[in-house]
């Protein structure tokens, strides 16, 4: 009996010791912790195949440490960028949020703004002049809103990737004669369909076609302010003519057979495109290199969405895109000035050019040209680069939380006709009303 008691006490003691010992936190002066996703970020596509010390970002941090003696920078790789917003929140509540975190801009940043330190007072003025994307980091997108951080390191752009051979087979040339109206687009798709190939292939369970192409039509008719006010319940989605027109055309594309039948649940749309079985697919420029590797650099082209209305009030001749990423400083940070200094360092021209050696992307600096990047004139990268300032910001970063979830979930149903545009708009209105309280 006493033996049992003794052992229980020993167990309890050892548990306490384990807790106490492992809980020792060492405090260092001037240490910055930085969270970065493992891919589609400062860490390049093939860098995880190299030792961590070899990564661009590790070397960049070393350069920063050298230029700022007494400072150490610790890199933490985010396993999942979406989940990172929540772990950031948990850490903020516990007081252990990192100094700098690479997350997503727009509404995603606004959702964590209570944990983020605004940087209006410490951001260098010449960064404000030389970099783009600031409006996506200002509170509620207002020009005078608090600035919550830098926009992420690249401008992502979205296009229809298309297979030049298949398009040529249909007697079309999207470089010389791209379809600029929806009627021309329909005609082109009809020609492609007649050659026996799937015109557009997509997987709407992550709504590629909608979020990366179709929203352009909504945006160009209704404008970002209307979209935002719909979300806030001040106006109704059901009365938003731009939205309804976009959804009608979106569904019509599928209805007429221009989009793969199983678009709502497809698991192999990308493989089909890379195998040359489909002519077009909505994509982000980040995967350009894979498309080129599979189809050949001369065979891959990009096509901006046609205009739903030539006299669209809010945008013409644009693609969907923008600075989807964000670099924020947490309120926990003991060295916010140093944190901003680090972000500014990473955004400098020298560091950006260094980063461009490990991955190709459209930088957020205004003072880097296509020639600087080594893009051949007439190449698909060059064309992509020409849209650097010609984009409308990702609508899913504009849609408010709650509404954006509903949007993601339900738009594939509209594509394949399982839900009418009107019902879709009404669901969004219901959600907006719910979120208003």
């Amino acid at each position: 009996m006493r033996k049992v008691l003794r052992i229980t006490v020993l167990l309890a003691l050892s548990l306490v010791l384990v807790v106490a010992f492992t809980g020792c936190a060492k405090k260092e002066a001037k240490k910055l912790t930085v969270w970065i996703p493992g891919r589609d970020s400062y860490i390049g596509p093939d860098e995880q195949k190299k030792a961590q010390e070899e990564w661009y970002i590790s070397k960049a941090f070393k350069r920063f440490e050298k230029a700022n003696p007494g400072v150490t920078v610790e890199l933490v790789v985010e396993p999942d960028a979406a989940a990172a917003h929540q772990t950031f929140k948990a850490a903020a509540v516990a007081g252990t949020a990192p100094d700098v975190a690479n997350l997503w801009s727009g509404q995603y940043t606004f959702g964590i703004k209570d944990a983020v330190r605004p940087i209006d007072d410490i951001v260098p003025k010449n960064d404000l002049a030389n970099l783009v994307g600031w409006e996506t980091m200002r509170d509620d997108f207002k020009a005078d809103g608090k600035l919550y951080g830098y926009a992420g390191y690249t401008v992502t752009l979205c296009f229809f990737f298309y297979n030049k051979t298949l398009v040529k087979k249909a007697g079309l040339d999207f470089e010389a004669n791209p379809p600029r109206t929806t009627q021309d687009f329909d005609a082109a798709l009809e020609k492609i369909k007649k050659t026996g190939v799937v015109p557009i292939v997509t997987d709407e369970s992550f709504p590629w076609l909608n979020l990366y192409v179709a929203v352009y039509w909504w945006y160009q008719m209704s404008g970002p302010d209307r979209i935002l006010s719909d979300c806030l319940g001040k106006t109704k989605f059901a009365d938003d003519a731009g939205l309804l027109a976009m959804l009608d055309y979106y569904h019509a594309l599928w209805q007429k057979g221009y989009v793969n039948r199983d678009a709502a649940t497809s698991s192999d749309y990308w493989a089909k495109f890379l195998q040359g079985k489909a002519a077009l697919t909505p994509q982000v420029t980040l995967v350009m290199s894979d498309a080129i590797a599979a189809l050949g650099a001369d065979n891959v082209g990009i096509l901006a969405p046609p205009e739903i209305d030539a006299k669209a009030p809010f945008a013409t001749d644009r693609a969907v895109g923008g600075t989807g990423g964000a670099l924020v400083v947490s309120k926990n940070s003991k060295n916010p000035d140093l944190a901003v200094k680090l972000i500014s360092f990473l955004s400098s021209k020298a560091e950006t050019m260094e980063l461009l050696k490990t991955q190709a992307f459209v930088p957020i600096r205004k003072d880097i040209s296509a020639a600087d990047m080594g893009y051949k004139p007439g190449s698909v990268q060059d064309k992509m680069y020409s849209f650097k300032d010609k984009y409308i910001y990702f609508v899913d970063n504009i849609l408010t939380p709650g509404v954006v979830d509903e949007y993601y979930k339900l738009c594939p149903l509209v594509l394949v006709g399982k839900m009418t545009p009107k019902k879709f708009a009404e669901s969004l209105d219901a959600k907006a009303a719910e979120m208003k309280k």
Binding site: L11, V93, F206, R261, A264, P412, V416, K437
Partner: protein
């Protein structure tokens, strides 16, 4: 009864009580410290509009009212209950496999090693493979067309009934190995003589399995059923995510997937996520009580 024996019996009982309490004390302490706090926390937050950070205003039962009045919640409940189908199928097949392996069918050593493999593979990979298997141009449709059973390809994941069916199939496929190993453990406690006697009596395989083996391992079967039911309500997230993303629409979204959506994706009304979790807890609790009454587990405690 002599007073001496009565005293001895009392001492033994008190000793046993003390031993028992000390035996369970560490477990109770750990759970109180680490599980009870989050549960109480979740319950408390479920009546607020907590956003994961510093906003947390009391809203009464607004979250609950909104959930229970909306259509989506009931779709989720329906989905979870339909997916419960996977439990009897899993258990049945697990029992069959366990008895087969226990009786050492030809190649049993080899098969025994293989049945558990699906449990070792990430659920995300399994979900992706099933999604591909049942895709419009996937192998299942191809085979069905070739043997003439289905001339026109079916979009399995595009219709509610077939999508849920595919998910059930996937869950059963992944879990048969676990059921089998649990039942094999249970069967190992049954003396071989019992099976011998049954065989001598001419009992066939099905009778040996269901009328001889099962009654002897009832508590183990009950454990397997209870755990599988709880898992169907709390552990399906990675499968749903990779198989269907909960789609089309909300047609294959389950309660725990919804909690993920509400807490991880937009993460603004975590109070609502907590409310869903509380409702989930109530449902599972109700099912467990029903199950315990049905199998008379309560008897165990009144020996």
């Amino acid at each position: 009864m002599s007073p001496m024996i009565a005293r001895a019996r009392n001492t033994r009982r008190r000793t046993r009580q003390r031993q028992a309490i000390l035996s369970i004390l560490p477990v109770v302490l750990v759970l109180l410290a680490i599980r009870a706090y989050p549960i109480v926390f979740a319950a408390a937050k479920s009546v607020t509009n907590w956003n994961g950070l510093y906003t947390s205003d009391y809203v009464g039962f607004a979250n609950y009212a909104r959930l229970l009045k909306g259509e989506v919640f009931w779709t989720l409940v329906r989905n979870n209950f339909v997916l419960l189908l996977n439990v009897p199928i899993q258990v049945f097949l697990g029992l069959v496999v366990a008895v087969l392996l226990h009786e050492r069918v030809w190649g049993w050593r080899f098969f025994r090693s293989l049945y558990y493999v699906p449990q070792i593979i990430s659920a995300v990979i399994i979900g992706y493979l099933f999604r591909t298997l049942f895709s419009m141009d996937g192998p299942i449709n191809i085979v069905l067309a070739r043997i003439g059973l289905m001339p026109e390809a079916l979009e399995w994941l595009g219709n509610t009934a077939t999508a849920l069916g595919v998910i059930v199939f996937c869950l059963v496929w992944s879990s048969v190995g676990w059921q089998a190993i649990v039942f094999m453990g249970g069967l190992s406690a049954i003396p071989e003589s019992v099976f011998e006697a049954a065989r001598i009596d001419g009992a066939g395989f099905w009778r040996r399995t269901f009328q001889v083996a099962v009654p002897m391992i009832v508590r183990v079967v009950e454990y397997a059923v209870m755990l599988s039911v709880v898992w169907t309500f709390t552990g399906l997230f990675p499968f749903i995510f990779s198989l269907t993303r909960g789609g089309p629409g909300y047609e294959t979204t389950t309660l725990d997937y919804m909690i993920y959506l509400r807490s991880f994706v937009s993460g603004v009304n975590l109070g609502e996520a907590c409310a869903i979790a509380m409702l989930l807890l109530l449902i599972i609790l109700a099912l467990t009580v029903v199950e315990m009454k049905a199998t008379n587990s309560m008897d165990d405690w009144s020996e």
